[in-house]
């Protein structure tokens, strides 16, 4: 029976109090993990999409915005297209176009598709509408749809969305380019050799172009997401901090209530350091167990989110709960709780034995 085992027993002895104290940590950890997990999942998803949707490099008009294929007003003219097509460093060159239009005042984002394997949908390739358009206009496979005064027949329905409240339409790139006044918004290509040097070649040899490699995109995503995650992390940490403060509070109460018991421990020969250690252990256990429960709660909520909200079909729990997050949150909550126990533990260890033994 060691003094540290006593820490477990003490937590068990006051089950309700321990549970309520842990609840603060559980809520703090669950919120933190939920928000960061969702952010991390989003980040991984965006990166993976980038990797599957684009070739080694994407080429844009250098005056246009070039993030995730945003359309902008800048197009690549025919001369530039043919210059790029003639570059020996590139192969598998595909033109892309995208534009927005509307049907009955509902904005629709039209994306010209080269490779239908990248899109998940039911039906056949050609003209694929998203669920929001199905819900709004009652489209089915075989329905007629009019885009920029041209009639098409819906061939498939996808669960993917723009995520921005716009309708989404995937169209064969061959049909989409004429609809967009033959404007090419971007070109993707595979590179023979290093994509970085291919990027430099394109930018130096073809005037007015800007090329981005996959790693440029992922870096953009990382930069953007790390800023967002720092912000949401800071807000969610306030919850955890409140939980940790409640540990300081409850440990002070525990130590005061157990004054005589601590006196007995010291009287029967436990050193100040052992008493300090046992109180720290108790505080650390509150944090550790609370963090584990919080993590489980967050995992369940994230999984439910994936099941019920799931436009991001490729995202699974492993994306959202990377090992670093699990270790950082459990380790961080435990460490903070141990720190929260420092003052109460120090007070306990400094108790005068004789006075402590007289305490009622």
């Amino acid at each position: 029976m060691s003094i540290y085992k006593l820490s477990f027993k003490n937590l068990k002895r006051r089950k309700l109090r321990s549970a309520l104290t842990m609840l603060g940590i559980v809520i703090g950890v669950a919120t933190l993990v939920l928000l960061i997990g969702a952010g991390t999942g989003m980040q991984s998803y965006m990166k993976e999409q980038t990797e599957t949707m684009m070739g080694d490099i994407s080429i844009y008009n250098s005056t246009g915005g070039a993030f995730m294929g945003s359309s902008g007003d800048a197009y690549i003219n025919n001369k530039t297209v043919s210059m790029i097509k003639n570059m020996s460093q590139l192969y598998d060159i595909k033109e892309e176009t995208q534009f927005t239009t509307e049907i009955n005042r509902t904005p629709i984002y039209v994306l010209g598709i080269n490779n239908w394997d990248q899109v998940k949908f039911n039906g056949t390739p050609g003209v694929v509408v998203d669920q929001s358009l199905v819900d709004k206009f009652g489209y089915k496979i075989g329905s007629k749809i009019n885009i920029k005064d041209k009639d098409f027949t819906v061939t498939g329905i996808t669960k993917e969305t723009t995520g921005m409240g716009m309708g989404l339409l995937f169209l064969d790139v061959g049909k989409a380019i004429p609809l967009n006044e033959n404007k090419v918004t971007s070109i993707t290509a595979s590179a023979k050799g290093d994509p970085e040097s291919a990027k430099k070649d394109v930018e130096s040899q073809v005037p007015g172009t800007k090329a981005m490699t996959q790693s440029d995109f992922t870096k953009q995503i990382d930069d953007m997401m790390s800023g967002i995650m720092l912000f949401i992390g800071a807000i969610a940490s306030i919850g955890l901090l409140v939980g940790v403060i409640s540990i300081v509070n409850i440990m002070l109460v525990n130590v005061t209530e157990r004054t005589r018991e601590i006196g007995v421990l010291k009287a029967i020969g436990f050193t100040n350091r052992e008493v300090l250690g046992s109180i720290l252990m108790e505080a650390g256990l509150l944090g550790f167990i609370g963090a584990l429960i919080g993590l489980i709660v967050a995992a369940i909520l994230l999984q439910l989110g994936i099941i019920f909200l799931g436009p991001l079909q490729d995202v699974n729990l492993a994306y959202m709960l990377p090992t670093w997050l699990v270790l950082a949150v459990v380790g961080g909550a435990t460490l903070l709780s141990v720190l929260a126990g420092l003052y109460p533990a120090w007070r306990a260890s400094r108790l005068n034995v004789v006075e402590a033994l007289r305490y009622d």
Binding site: M1, L6, E261, A267, I268, F270
Partner: protein, 217 residues
């Protein structure tokens, strides 16, 4: 006979606000190995303070305490704690068992080398066969004090200090506890008890009286 406890010219002064109170006023107190000493006296006479000095729960304001040949003032806090754990057993008036631990766990708590069999043996020795796994709340006062005595024996100490060990017990249980302590003394254990109870003091080989922080033999 070697002295287990040797307290020389010990003073203990407390400050109560502006006032200074001398709980001990130059006390000399020796207890030889294997003896059984009772300290009696009215409340506030300084007998508990004397016991605290003998058990290194407190240090004198002035004077020396030597325990088993070691001068307490020369030991660090950790060494004092270690000496307390390995050489001294305490029995308190209010038993002071840990309520969340069973009888056996209470006995094992101070053990330097935790040993279940030994804990059971000690509990058998104090007459608690088969009550190893009872919590203090499931034991009578007399039984609780037996567990406390068993706990004091956990590390085979050279000295047992008991502060009013019968203070919370009825006559029958008081007698049983004193018989148990006497039996330990017969086995060679050195014992010091502080008590109000003349019946309890009768079991000791020697009784000293205290009043106003001084010993009268």
């Amino acid at each position: 006979m070697t002295d287990i406890v040797d307290i020389k010219d010990a003073w203990k002064t407390y400050k109560m606000g502006e006032e200074e109170i001398n709980a001990l006023q130059g006390v000399n107190f020796k207890v030889g190995e294997g003896s059984f000493m009772a300290v009696m006296g009215p409340s506030g006479s300084g007998k508990s303070t004397l016991l605290h000095l003998a058990g290194i729960l407190d240090l004198p304001t002035k004077g020396d305490v030597t325990l088993g040949g070691k001068k307490v003032s020369e030991l660090s806090g950790n060494e004092q704690a270690h000496l307390r754990r390995s050489q001294i057993g305490f029995v308190f008036q209010r038993f002071n068992l840990l309520s969340q631990l069973t009888a056996m766990e209470n006995v094992m708590l101070p053990m330097i080398k935790p040993d279940k069999e030994k804990a059971k043996e000690i509990l058998d020795r104090v007459g608690l066969e088969g009550k190893y796994h009872r919590l203090p709340s499931q034991l009578s006062g007399g039984e609780e004090q037996r567990v406390a005595i068993a706990r004091s024996l956990a590390n085979d100490p050279i000295l047992i200090l008991a502060d009013e060990p019968t203070g919370e017990l009825d006559t029958k249980n008081s007698r049983m506890i004193m018989e148990l302590l006497t039996e330990l003394n017969r086995g060679g254990m050195t014992l010091i008890i502080v008590t109000h109870d003349p019946m309890a003091a009768k079991f000791a080989q020697k009784t000293v009286q205290m009043q106003d922080g001084k010993i009268y033999e």
